[in-house]
Structure formats: structure tokens, C-alpha cells
Subunit: 132 residues, 4 copies
């Protein structure tokens, strides 16, 4: 399997959200970047820029679209993949565990947006409860 | 455990990139959003906007920083958590498997950036090999 | 002069920051968009998305660049032009006078960042004076 | 008038798109930044990041809004002012004339989107004419 040869190409086995932990993707990315000597470019600041650029390429697919109108699925998958790849590269570079970070943020959001106040509202947490 | 009570708060068990699959986060988010009746706001277009906005909040932490200078770790973790949460919300809304999408994109990147050509270069794939 | 023919192409006369008011660009853009029946797509929300996408395309030019390293000038000019065009389209759609808005914001910034406190500091206004 | 005293605060006279050239704003910004010794932070790369961040703050105002639903006008004006201020700071730093750049881009767009092909279409120029 070429992926195991250390050139950072994706493995033959099919990954899935249900079974593949992010650490598997992170390891494949580390090999990919190392084989290309790309660590030198991957400063946290540039990776944060790259993440914003990738998120914007995904956003562009929805430009001028009416609600309910969807971009081509293959384009969506490609850009979603790019965002996750860049997010994992950045988190790894910073030594942050993404799942633990999301878990902590979700707990914080639970406090900021209590069900009784936030239900059916799109307001930001610091403006919740301001309207009748 | 309050998280299991269906109000969408994070579970007590500690998640990690190495062990927790994204599907676990996705299920917690689905419960969180449902408890707040937020599905109505979560169109794919608005979630793509939200993802770009969250990536930009992360980017802002690096603004005016010199290379090597890092923002406070707690702020980084919070914004990285936000990006992953929004990315998972969007992928779930679109029915896209993020790990499979990243795997496919990584395979494509392997073709676009062959080691022999891309090594030590920051060029985009369509400009690789243009310079001596 | 073809630009006067109503198809929205740019006028032959050379514009400049020193002499051409933004209203001249706004009028040319209105004719350009009207000739193509594009007003139907130009909702404020989509124009705000487009502005973010254009700013991100400009940002991408700086990706992986070291400080002091500049992207090709022609690419910079093209993307800067795109940002201004989209900004003027959005402001016009909202009925906001851009110069008056910038003037008001500059006055506000003068209050938020008094010279004595802000000199040589990159901090945000709500964190000014927090450090010794 | 304090604005003339060189501290970079906005002048008392009311600016407008119809009459005030961008060069007037650029000169006020140069004085503002110089009084605060901020030129040291304003590398082209950081200003491009700042522009993307400001455009994203404007975008955030439209998040979760239905078409036709508008954010508070004062917030829109403030963010639009920020975007123009940052755009002018960046263009000045790069020595690019924004109006000339917009004029050139508008002429290019006139070629890329001929009225006969682009009328009523939201497609990108490289996909125009692909559909029946």
C-alpha cells in the first residue's frame, strides 16, 4: 500500500466519521507534509490564514445561491476536506487536541445559551434576554 | 450524566483526537441544536457563513503578531473548538462524511503535489514546475 | 466614449484616488450591473459574502510569504480593485455613504485609541492600558 | 481644529462619496497611524489579514438573517467604515491607486462578462455559456 510507504498519500482503507479518529488523519498529514518538506512554511500564523482562505472557498460555493439551492456535491466535499485538513494541521502545530477543545467549547456554549433563554432565538449570548 | 439527558450539554467523559470519533461530537451537537430549536437557522448557506466567521475570529488572534509570537492558549483552544463545531454542523447538514472527504482530498493532493516536484516549494499545484 | 453608452464598461478617462470621487465608480457599477440584470442577485447578504470572499482572495496572495516578500503587483491590483468594487456595490445597496462612514469611524477610533495610551501598542482598545 | 493638529483625528468637515476623494481619507489615516507609531505593525501581510477580518465582522452581522432582514444601520456603517479604512491603509502601503485599480478591473470584467452572455446569470466568467 503506497500510503504506508511514507510519502503521505492517503491509505487504501476507507475512513469514516464514525470510526476513524482525527489522530489517524493527523498522522497521515504529518507524513504528507514531511515528505514535501512543508513544515518550514507551516507557521501557526500562516496556517490560520490558510484555514480562513479555505473556509472562504467553501463559502464562495454558496454565493448568489438562493436558500435551498445547493452547490455541486463534489465541490462541497472537496472544500470540506480542505477545511478539515487545514484545521488538523493547525491544531497539531499548536499541540491542541481538537476534540477536547470542541468538548470544552460545547460545555461553555451550554452555559451561555441555556435552553430556556436560547430556544428559537438566533441572538448572540450577550444579547440573549434583551428583547421581550 | 447531564449530557445524556438530551439538553445537548457536553458529556462528562473527556474526549480526545486519538479515541473519540467525530460522530460522537456530531451526535452531541445534534442534541444541542435540537434542544434549542436551532435547526431552523442552520441552512447550509448560513453555516458556511458561520464557518468563515469562526475561522476569521481565529485568524484575528494572530493579527499584528510576529512569527513565533503566539496568542493566549485558552483563546486558541476556544476558537479551534468553534471552528470544528461549525464544520461538523455544516457537514452533518449536508450529509457529508468529513473523514472520507479529507481522505479523498489528501489522495488528490498527493497527485497534484508529487514529492519530486513539490518538495520545499510553496507554489500552488497549477504553478509547480514553472520555475527552474 | 464607450462607458457612456450604458453597458457599464469603464470610461476611457483615467481615474485616480486624488481626483475621482467614489460616486463616479458607484455610478459606473450601477450601469454595469443594470446592463447585466444583476441587481436581482445583489442582496445585502450576498454582497457581504462576496466582500468577504474577495478580501480572502487578496489574503491568499500573501499565504506562505515571508514578511517583506510581496505577491505579483498585477495580482494585488486586481484583487484590491475587486474589494473596492464589491464594497461600493454593498454600500450603495444599503444607502450608506462610505466616506462619511469612514470619517465617523476614524473619529471613534481617535477616542478609543488616544495617542498617549495607544502609541506603539498593537492591543485592541478594550485591552489598552492593561499592561504596565 | 484638533484634526489639523496632526493627531490624526477626523476633521470637522463632513466627508461624502460625492465630493471627498479617497486621497483625503488616506492622508488622515497616515497622520492617525503616524501619531500612534503604528506603521511598524502595518506590514502588507498583516493589513491583508486585517482586511479579511474586518470584512468578516461585516459578514457576521448578516448571519442567521433571512433575506430582506437587515442588521442595525449603525453597526453596518461602523463595519463598512472599518473595511474602507483598512483597504485604504493597505493600498497606500503597497503604493496602489484604488480607483485606477477598480477602473482596470471593471474594464476586465466588461470583457469577461459580455452583456449578451452574462445577462441574468450568476455564473463565474469561466463557466458562462456552458449551459443551454
Amino acid at each position: 500500500m503506497s500510503g504506508a510507504a511514507g510519502d503521505g498519500s492517503a491509505p487504501a482503507a476507507r475512513w469514516s466519521e464514525a470510526e476513524t479518529p482525527i489522530a489517524t488523519l493527523a498522522a497521515a498529514l504529518a507524513a504528507f507534509n514531511h515528505a514535501r518538506d512543508w513544515e518550514r512554511f507551516h507557521t501557526p500564523k500562516d496556517l490560520a490564514m490558510a484555514l480562513s482562505v479555505e473556509a472562504s472557498e467553501l463559502l464562495e460555493l454558496f454565493l448568489w445561491k438562493r436558500d435551498g439551492e445547493l452547490p455541486p456535491r463534489a465541490r462541497l466535499e472537496e472544500e470540506l476536506g480542505d477545511v478539515l485538513i487545514t484545521l488538523v494541521n493547525l491544531a497539531r502545530r499548536l499541540g491542541v487536541d481538537l476534540l477536547a477543545a470542541a468538548e470544552a467549547k460545547l460545555a461553555l456554549n451550554g452555559e451561555r445559551y441555556p435552553v430556556a433563554l436560547a430556544r428559537g432565538k438566533a441572538s448572540k449570548y450577550d444579547q440573549l434576554g434583551e428583547e421581550p
